[in-house]
Symmetry: C2
Amino acid sequence: MKGITKKEKFLATTLQLIHEKGFKATTLRDIAQKLNFEVANVYNYIDSKQALLEAYLFDISDEFHRAQDRIISSTYSPREKLRRMIASYIQITAKRPYEQALLVNDWRNLKEPRRQEFVKRRKDYEDKLMAVLQEGVDQGQFRALDVELTTHTLLASLRWLYKKHIEEAKAINPVEIEKQLTDFIFSGILKN
Amino acid sequence: MKGITKKEKFLATTLQLIHEKGFKATTLRDIAQKLNFEVANVYNYIDSKQALLEAYLFDISDEFHRAQDRIISSTYSPREKLRRMIASYIQITAKRPYEQALLVNDWRNLKEPRRQEFVKRRKDYEDKLMAVLQEGVDQGQFRALDVELTTHTLLASLRWLYKKHIEEAKAINPVEIEKQLTDFIFSGILKN
DNA sequence: ATTAAACATGAACAAATGTTCATGTAAATA
DNA sequence: TATTTACATGAACATTTGTTCATGTTTAAT
């Protein structure tokens, strides 16, 4: 099965290129050059530049959603649900940092109607997380905070993490990162 | 002084356009169309598309740096310094959400050598914030946290805020936002 | 009123970019 | 071995895009 390996190499290399330069700025000729073949050959791997972006984005997006749904349909407390959501978010990011980067930086390059679809899915994700937060506030596990604002803030505090994985040369300790971020979100930075 | 007003209208309209579509995807023809004149006329307002981006980015970047430097050179405690940095960050974001959006989303479109310069400045900002955090940890005001990781997490938790200002139709209460975010960063979301 | 500056147009261009096509070679399968 | 499938090339294309130029028109300063 060398065919799969070759396509996977194409996808991985291209993903990195796109991350460095941005989707719009990454030319099919850039991609071809990096892979040492001619432009036309790119079309033996993809249908179109747009389809490539869509494949990347919806694939990683799906993984996030599946992980979230698994946790939501459990019977854990809001606090434990949140803890697990954070953990799973961090794990996926660690496993696929370049795709996560794309998710954050390049979704705007989607064309309609896929762009709307994407935005809607992302809002779903946010809403589900928000529901957990709201539940936790209602049950008195979390402070009486602004749930919407906090949902976005919380997500934002996780969303940068792909950089760490991409830029860091040496492998980083996922357990430690998870602890640090969970502590930050649950308890803040003040002593006591 | 209608000249100033006209150029300002150009800059504001263009800024919004770029925010919606992204810098690379925003054509000079898009801009001209939105302003109801021809493409060539754009060059009565700018030197080049690149120079336009640079102007936006370095101008808002400077404002962030000036505010930070003012606070750093004060004699407040680390905790109070941090509180004020957060407050000033939020204020600038509230005042110039579109430029902040550009700062977050479109700096990658800078060309060398300006791009490197930008990255360096941003790192300066992060390092100065990190120093405050470190000082706070050393003095026992903050928990014994991973300073570097927390610096990035903290910044990320502020960096999304421009969306709130851009998307929200009704004006939002800056005092309340400042309180929510400060509480989140200082104390987290758990009760107690 | 005259001059100068600001704002505007239309035409043109060179470069870049996504995509197609006809064709060829290497590799896997039957 | 014969044949299909995967991988590759070179040439060409229609569009798009940033930019320039020569030339107007409107507005403000002298």
